[in-house]
Subunit: 343 residues, 4 copies
C-alpha cells in the first residue's frame, strides 16, 4: 500500500501542543499522508513552526516542519487540506471545529465535544471501523471523532471478548501527560495519587458503550453494559494503566480469553496500514507485566495478569495515551478511511 496511491493532504489544529507534536512526528516519512498546514493560537500565526514550538517529545523536531509558517484556524487557511486533524484542547475545540465543518471541510478530531453526537462516528479503527460505513453515501463533508485516550486503550481488549461480558468494574491509573504538558504541577502530583479526573469516568463509560455498540445513519445503539469506572492520576509521565474486573455472563477459561486477545486482528492489520500495529493486543507472560515504564508500545496495547476466579475476569491493560490514545489513532483513522474509499 502507499505506492501510486493518491496522497492525502492534512492540516493540523493545535500543532504546538503535545498531541500536535506527536502527529507531526508520526507523519514524518508517511507514505501517503502529507502535512499542508499547521495552525496555532492567534499570537503565533505567521511565525515559523520551529521558532515557536517548545518541542518536548522524544527525538528532534522533524526538519520539514521547521520552516512552515503557522496559519490561523479560519476555514480559508485550510482549503488545501483534504482533512483537518484537530488536536485542540477540549475546552476550546468545538467553536473552531464546527466553523470548519460548516465551511465544508472534513474533520477528524481528538477533542471531546460532540463525541456522543448520534450522527458522528466515534472511531477506534481496530474496534469499530465499520462505523465509518455510514459516511459512504453521505453527500458533502463529514466529521469523525476519536475517543478519549483511556477509552481508546480499554476498548481494544474488550472488543474480542465483548460477548462474554456482563458488567465492568474499571480503575484507571492515568499518566500526567494525559493532562497536557502544563496540566499538572510537580508539587501537585509527584509522590501522590489524585483519585479524580474531571469528566473522565463518564467519558470512559459512555464512549466504550458507543464504540462497542452499533452506529446507524442517524443514531447509534449502545452496547448497553454497565461500566463502573474510577479514574485516578499517578506520577507516571507516559502510559495509562487500567485494571479491569469483568463480570462474565457465561463460563470462560483464562486461556481462551488470552487466545482470543492474541489472535485479534482487524481491518488495519489485514490491510497492513502504515500506522497499524502488527499485533494490536500484546499479551505479556511476565507475572509483573504490563508496566508503563517497561512495556509501552506506541500503537498496540499490552495486557497482563489475565485470570478468572468465579465469574470474574481480571486483566490489566496499558497503552500509550499520546499515540494510541490520541495522535496515532487519528492517523490510523485517516488511513482506514482511505483504504475504505471514503476519503
Amino acid at each position: 500500500m502507499g505506492e501510486g496511491m493518491d496522497r492525502v493532504r492534512v492540516s493540523i489544529l493545535g500543532a504546538t501542543g503535545l498531541v500536535g507534536q506527536w502527529m507531526i512526528k508520526l507523519l514524518a516519512n508517511h507514505p501517503f499522508i502529507e502535512i499542508v498546514g499547521l495552525s496555532a493560537s492567534p499570537g503565533k500565526v505567521g511565525r515559523k513552526y520551529g521558532d515557536v514550538v517548545h518541542w518536548f517529545i522524544p527525538g528532534d523536531i522533524p526538519e520539514y516542519v521547521k520552516d512552515m509558517a503557522l496559519v490561523s484556524t479560519d476555514p480559508a487557511d485550510h482549503k488545501a487540506a483534504d482533512v483537518v486533524l484537530s488536536a485542540l484542547p477540549n475546552d476550546v475545540a468545538w467553536p473552531t471545529e464546527s466553523k470548519l465543518a460548516n465551511a465544508g471541510l472534513n474533520v477528524v478530531s481528538n477533542a471531546s465535544p460532540e463525541r456522543m453526537n448520534p450522527r458522528i462516528p466515534l472511531i477506534n479503527p481496530e474496534v469499530n471501523w465499520e462505523h465509518l460505513n455510514i459516511l459512504r453515501d453521505l453527500k458533502g463533508n463529514w466529521m469523525v471523532k476519536n475517543p478519549n485516550c483511556t477509552a481508546a486503550i480499554i476498548s481494544m481488549p474488550l472488543k474480542p471478548i465483548q460477548d462474554l461480558i456482563g458488567t465492568l468494574h474499571i480503575v484507571t491509573l492515568q499518566s500526567v501527560s494525559g493532562a497536557g504538558y502544563l496540566g499538572l504541577s510537580y508539587l501537585a502530583i509527584d509522590g501522590n495519587v489524585i483519585p479524580f479526573i474531571k469528566g473522565e469516568e463518564e467519558k470512559i463509560d459512555i464512549e466504550i458503550n458507543k464504540m462497542l455498540g452499533k452506529q446507524l445513519v442517524d443514531h447509534y445503539d449502545p452496547w448497553g453494559k454497565p461500566i463502573y469506572v474510577t479514574a485516578t492520576r499517578v506520577p507516571v509521565k507516559y502510559g495509562h494503566t487500567a485494571v479491569i474486573h469483568a463480570i462474565l455472563n457465561r463460563n470462560a477459561d483464562a486461556n481462551q480469553v488470552i487466545e482470543r486477545l492474541r489472535r485479534f486482528k482487524s481491518l488495519p492489520q489485514e490491510k497492513e496500514l502504515p500506522t497499524a500495529p502488527r499485533e494490536p493486543i500484546k499479551v505479556l507472560d511476565r507475572v509483573d507485566a504490563p508496566q508503563p515504564a517497561r512495556d509501552l508500545d506506541p500503537m498496540a496495547v499490552s495486557v497482563g495478569r489475565v485470570t478468572i476466579r468465579d465469574n470474574v475476569l481480571r486483566l490489566v491493560v496499558i497503552g500509550d495515551n499520546l499515540v494510541r490514545g490520541a495522535a496515532g489513532i487519528t492517523i490510523l483513522t485517516i488511513e482506514t478511511m482511505k483504504t475504505l474509499g471514503i476519503l
Copy 2:
C-alpha cells in the same frame, strides 16, 4: 488513662527496620508502655542501637534508645518483656516468633505467617477488638497477629457498612515503603506502575474475611463475602490507596454511608486509648480527596469519592501503611488488651 496504671514492658524484634523504627518513635513518651529490649540481626547484637541504625523515618532518633545495647532474638533475652512486638520481615519471622511463644512469651506480631491460624486472633482494634476475648480464659501465654497493612486500612471503612455489602472489587495503589526501605529500586518503580505484589491479593481477601467474621476459641467463621483484589505498586513513598467498588445487597444512599463512616467509633475511641485516632474514619469533602501526599493521617484512614450508582457503592480510602498499617496497630493492640484486662 495511664495515671497509676501498671506499666507494660515490651521488647521489639526487627528494631532497626522501617516498622521497628516507627514503633520506637510512637513509644517515645508513651504513658504506660515501656521499651525494655531491642533486638536485631546477629551481627549487631551487643552494639548500641544508635550506632547501628540507619534512621530514615521523619524526625530524629529518640534519645532514650540511642544507648540501648541490642539483644538477640533468643527467649532468654526477652524475659523482662510482658510482650514481645515483632516487626520482623515475613520471610524470617516464624521460626523466631514460634520459638519465643514456645518459651512462654506473649507475642504481638506484624508478620504474615500464621495470620490465618484459627486459634490466633488477627486484630485491627477498631474493627474486631472483640476477637481478643477468646484470650481471656486462656491459661499461659498467647500470640496475636496484626493484619497486612492494606487489609488494616481497607477493613476500617468496611466495618460500619458490613451489612450492606454483597461482593467487593478492590484495586490497590500501594506505596513503596510497603516493600521496606530497600524493597524497590529507584529504576524499577520511578515513573512506573507495577501491577503485581506477590501474595498481597490473597492476603487482603482472606484477612478481611477473617477480621469481619467471628473468632471463636478454636476456629473462626469468616465473613464469607467474595473479595476480588488487584494490587499494584505506585511511585509514592508513604500511604496506600484503595479504590473499592462494593456491590450492595440492598438499597442504600451515599449520604447514609457517609454518615455511618463519620459516626463510627469503637472501643479504642470510647476508652480514649493513647494511640487511638479521635475519628478513625475521616470522610473528606474535597472532590479530589483523599490523596496520600496531602491527606495522610498516621492512625485514621481518610475516605473520599463516596458515590452510589445502581447497587454499586464506590469509595476511595487511604491510610498510613507504616503506622495504621503496621507499627501503630501493634501498639494500639497492646493498649486495647491492657484496657480489656487481658494484659
Copy 3:
C-alpha cells in the same frame, strides 16, 4: 520573652500562596505577633480565607484564620497593622509595596524588587541584624527586605568564616517549591535537571555581597568578593542544596572551620527569639549528609562534607527554602526588630 510584651499586629500580602501559608502556620500560637489582616488578589476580597485557600502545606489550616475575611492590598485595609508582611510574587510586588510605604506603613518583604536599594536593609537576622540599626533614628515608616531564599541559606555558613574567604564558586540544586506551587510542571522537571533559573545567579552574588558588607544610612559597602554561581533546578519538593567551593585567602584547617560553624550564635539565639533555631548551623557528621529529604530543618541550615584541599574549602549546605528562605526569615526579622526596640 513574650510575657507582658506589647503585641505586634501584622497583615499578610499574598496570604494564599505557598509563602503566605507558611507565615500563617508559623504565626499560629506566636507569643507576641498577631495576624490582623490577610489580603489576596481582587477576585477573592471579602471571601473567607478558609473558603478560598488551596491549602497545600503540611498539616491542617489553622482554625483561627479560616473565618477571616480577605482584604485588598489598599493601604486603607492595613491601617490596623504595625507591619505589613509581603509574600507577593516578585513580578507584581513593587507597585503594591511602594503604595503601602508611601501611605506611611511599615513593610517587611520577601519580594526581590529594591533589595539592592542602598537605603533599604536586606536582612537575614543571624547574619546581619546590625544593618537594622540604621532604622533607629529614622523618622516615619520604614521598609525591610529579606533576601532570596538561596542567598538566605548560603549566607549563614559564610558568616562565621567570612574573613577566610577570597573567592566563591557555588553550584545550587534548588527545589521545585522555590518556583511556587504551580511554578514547574511535572513533565518539565520530573527525572530532570534544569541548569538555569532566571535571575537567580545574579541575586545570589549581589545579595550575599550586600548582607556580608556594611549597611550605612544612605548606602552600603559590599563585601567585595567575587562569587561565581551556577543555579540549577532538581526534582526535589522542598529544600535547596548548595555546593560551595571557597578559595581561602589564608591557611585554615577543616576542623577549625567546623568549630566556627558549630559555635556560631547571633542576636536571635542570645535573645532566644521564638522563631530562632537554637543552633543556626548544624554540622552533620554523616558522610552522605546533608540531604534535603532526610536532614531538612525549618530554620537552621545543615552543613556537611567540610573538607579543605590546598586552599580550597568545600562545604555542602541545605536549608528550607520556604521557612528559613522565606516565611520564617520574615517573622524572625520582626522578632529581631522588636527586641532591638525598632518596632
Copy 4:
C-alpha cells in the same frame, strides 16, 4: 568502513547487568564486531541468556542473543574471542580480568581497578586515542581500561580547550543508573539529593589528569591541573550532568570557546567509525540547556550555559552515562583499535 573488513569477535563479562545489556544492544547489527560469548555469575552458567536476563533497558532484547548459552568467566570459555569486554562491577572485576589477561587474552574493561596503572592506557577515544599507540609494538596480549562514566563525559569538552585551563571546580549531578539497576532504593533517592558518591571525586580528578596527559610505554605524565570535584546523586534515571567552573590561565572569549567545542573532531569522526557521534560535542543554544530528560544523546555530550566572567569559564555538560560513559565507549575503543591496526 566495515565492508570486507576482518570481523572482531568479542565476549562480554557481566552480560546481564545494565552495561552488559547496553553492549548487546549496541552490537546488534554492528558491521564488524560480533558477540561470540556472554558470561554471567556462576549460578547462571549454561542457561540461555533470554531466560536469565531481567532486560530493563529501552527496546526489546535482541533476538540473536536470546538463545546463547551463558558461559563462565574462565579463560577457557573465552578462547574464541579476539577481545573480552568487561562490564563487571568494580568490586569484583579485577580477579577475573587479571586471570584472563594472564591467560593471554585481550581485555577492554569498564571497571575501575588498575585504571591508574602506568602501563595500561585509559581510553576515551576522541580525547586520547593516541595513548593506544604504546600497544603497537607490544608482544603478546594487552589490556585497555575505559574511564569512569563521569570522567568520560567531562573530559570531552575539556579536550579542545585544555590549553586555556588553569584550575577546575566541578560539581556533578549524577543519575541513579550510574549506581546500577539495584544501586539505590526508591526511598533513599526519590525527591532527594545525596551529596556523596564513594570514590567518585578522586576518580574524576585523577582519571581526567591521566587522559589529558601523556601515555608513555611504562608510565604516564599527568596533565597536572588541580581538579576540585564534588559529586552528588540526583533523582534522574539516565544522564549525568556536570557544572564546570574553569579558571583560565589566559584571556578568552566565550564565543571562541564555543567555536572550539563545536569544531572538535577526532580520529573516530575522521574515520567515520560506526559508533562515533558525528559531532562529539553538541553546543546547545537554548538558555536552559542541556537537560538530561530532553537533550541526552547516546554518544555525544551536550554543552550549554557557556559564559566567561573575569577569568572564569562556566559550562554545563551532560552525557549518557551508560552509553558514552560505559558500553558505547568500550565499543568505540574496539573500533578505534581496529582502525589503527592494533587489533
